[in-house]
């Protein structure tokens, strides 16, 4: 067996209010120009770790606010499709979000306001990452392990990984690539899991299924 280890890590997120809030699209744009980079992380990815209702119809907090509070479905749809993984850093992501909002503002005859109390509140986060002490060497072991690991671990290895790995990959794929081309099929299956339109619970299930199907598919 190849001697590559996979350390299961875990993480917990804590939210911090930046104190900034927007009551319309113009204010949102103005604040976005300078808001803490961590705020983009929280509002794009943190949603998976903080309370939210129903399956995420819209993929980031800006889009949710635009549709539910601002009632501007056009900009909500455009914001929702922004995939934070394809940008090399937060500043590029910031530019893209600003571009969408600028375009919407330039075509609007008036700037809609939300009701008092329904403003967009900017939040950033601190993330605490810790070792669980659990280490695996054989990818096949993960069939049984994945269902038992916390949602924090799923977030860390499948979501957070995308901002710290080459090519914005998940940690499982990076680890499997260390075995040469032996697990290329499994890597492809994992890379094909869309982290959008899902919850961490469902992601855990999808990852487990990828491992299970790969190792049991040929039997």
């Amino acid at each position: 067996m190849d001697n590559h280890e996979f350390k299961i890590m875990d993480c917990a997120l804590i939210a911090i209010a930046t104190g900034e809030k927007a009551q319309n699209l113009r204010e949102l744009r103005d604040i976005l120009k300078n808001v803490h980079p961590g705020s983009f992380y929280y509002h794009f990815w943190g949603g998976l770790l903080h309370p939210h209702f129903d399956d995420p119809e819209f993929q980031n907090d800006f889009a949710v606010w635009a549709t539910r509070n601002l009632h501007d479905s056009k900009v909500a749809e455009q914001l929702s499709i922004v995939d934070p993984n394809v940008f090399k850093d937060v500043e590029d992501l910031r530019k893209e979000v600003l571009e969408i909002i600028e375009a919407r503002l330039s075509e609007s005859e008036h700037v809609p306001w939300v009701r008092f109390g329904q403003e967009f509140h900017f939040i950033r986060s601190q993330i605490v990452i810790f070792e669980t002490g659990v280490i695996h060497y054989d990818p096949k072991d993960l069939i049984d392990i994945i269902p038992t690991i916390s949602l924090g671990s799923i977030f860390f290895h499948f979501i957070d990984a995308r901002r710290r790995t080459p090519g914005n990959k998940n940690d499982f794929s990076i680890w499997l690539a260390g075995f040469g081309d032996k697990y290329d099929g499994l890597i492809e299956d994992l890379d094909n899991i869309d982290p959008y339109f899902t919850t961490l619970n469902e992601l855990r299930h999808d990852i487990k299924s990828a491992f299970y199907n790969y190792f049991n598919g040929g039997i």
């Binding site: 875990d10 917990a12 997120l13 804590i14 939210a15 911090i16 209010a17 104190g19 809030k21 961590g38 309370p51 939210h52 209702f53 129903d54 109390g117 403003e119 509140h121 939040i123 950033r124 986060s125 601190q126 993330i127 605490v128 990452i129 810790f130 070792e131 669980t132 002490g133 038992t148 690991i149 916390s150 949602l151 924090g152 619970n201």
Partner: protein
């Protein structure tokens, strides 16, 4: 006998409990102190009653102390509470002196613990001035605000801010409540305890027994609001809604409230509610003692719809309790109710007695929709608003405080 953590694992899963153990590891050896103003009654005391034993089981050295004062102290802090929620309620200098003196006296009583603790959680305005008197503190101090301070009466907030600004950080239930302060402002919604007497599963026989004892007819739909008798909970508005519904369908209403020992206004509001309800045999006003947890549990489980028609609300734990019991909730469009009640998903948010009446009639007409909403509601609370989630966030916060304000904190396992 099972440990508390093992009991919770049955509800939330082993992986959630393992996660808590891991987070607690770096906090072993730290002294954590919680301070509030009442041991019984109100959501804060309820949560602390369970959070403290859980933290202890996780190996954390934690204590809970309660400050005490005379009637004028509670009169002052009740006014503060109302003013922070937006009432224009000026507080006399004499009462403010009582507030400061009471905090000073309590500081002297708790001095050693306050000075020695590594982390001190101060809950709500009542003990907020303790920090002012603690000149030799060793640890970090956090002010935990459980109430809606989104639009405070400015003179009272300005007064309190002078005490709060010196804390190392504050914790708020919702981002909308946050007031500008120069320290980090963490967001931690509160939670309910699924194993408490108020939320644990009950045998049907016990539910029926309670309802029978209150003279409630189980063949007629039951609408219930559980909350302190407080004008911000709009009990009179709930009675108005009930009357509007009753014109069309038979219905019963229960307004159930207990007293919190730090709420001197409750009795007056209760008398107003009784007078407004008159002698309608289908309106039941239940004065329940603060420890009547199983009775409240039975009442919520025996109800068809839970109402929380607040005009102002902190988080609204009675809403969470109702959702956990699989009931749709009609809630005021305010505060934390907005986080929990989503129209057509877990209930309806309303702004008027008329709006509440309309939604109650709609739900009573569609029992299958009520059932679906109830299932959604329970799952949502399971995922987000149980005490294990709040505990996780408190632990994360203390870890964050211990290791600095970096965006990313990486902890290594201790070497054996």
């Amino acid at each position: 006998m099972e440990s508390l953590l093992e009991q919770y694992a049955h509800v939330v899963g082993n992986e959630v409990i393992d996660h808590l153990r891991q987070l607690a590891n770096p906090l072993r050896g730290m002294k954590i102190l919680h301070i509030n103003s009442t041991k019984e009654g109100g959501g804060v005391a309820e949560i602390l009653h369970r959070l403290i034993p859980l933290k202890i089981e996780l190996g954390i050295d934690v204590e809970w102390e309660v400050i005490s004062g005379e009637a004028d102290f509670y009169k002052c802090t009740k006014k503060m509470h109302n003013s922070l929620q937006g009432n224009r309620d000026d507080i006399s200098s004499a009462l403010l002196i009582v507030y400061e003196n009471t905090n000073h006296q309590n500081f002297e009583r708790l001095k050693e613990k306050l000075e020695q603790a590594d982390v001190v959680f101060i809950h709500d305005p009542q003990p907020a001035a303790l920090l002012h008197f603690c000149k030799k503190r060793k640890g970090k101090w956090l002010w935990r605000c459980h109430i809606d301070v989104s639009h405070p009466y400015r003179p009272v907030w300005k007064y309190l801010r002078e005490f709060i600004k010196d804390y190392d950080a504050s914790i708020w239930s919702l981002s909308a409540f946050v007031q500008p302060l120069s320290h980090p402002q963490y967001l931690i919604p509160p939670s309910i305890d699924p194993l408490s007497q108020k939320n644990i599963e009950l045998p049907e026989k016990e539910i029926s027994g309670f309802l029978d004892s209150w003279g409630i007819d189980r063949d007629i739909p039951l609408i219930t609001q559980v909350s302190r008798f407080d004008r911000f909970k709009d009990p009179l508005g709930v009675i108005e809604s009930y009357r509007l519904v009753k014109k069309y369908v038979p219905v019963q209403l229960v307004l159930a409230g207990g007293g919190a020992s730090d709420d001197p206004e409750g009795e007056q509001v209760l008398q107003e509610v009784k007078a407004f309800a008159g002698d309608d045999p289908d309106v039941h006003i239940l004065e329940l003692p603060s420890d009547a947890h199983r009775a409240i549990n039975a009442l919520q489980r025996g109800s068809d719809i839970i109402v929380q028609k607040s005009l102002k609300e902190g988080f609204g734990l009675t809403v969470t309790e109702g959702l956990w019991k699989g009931k749709p909730v009609i809630g005021g469009d305010t505060g934390g109710i907005r986080l929990q009640v989503i129209n057509h998903f877990s209930g309806f948010r309303v702004n008027t007695p008329e709006g509440a009446a309309l939604r109650i009639r709609y739900l009573l007409k569609h029992p299958e929709i009520m059932k679906t909403m109830g299932l959604n509601a329970r799952q949502f609370v399971l995922d987000n608003y149980l005490i294990t989630r709040q505990l996780r966030e408190y632990l994360t916060l203390v870890v964050a405080l211990k290791y600095g304000s970096r965006e990313k904190i990486e902890l290594k396992l201790p070497t054996q």
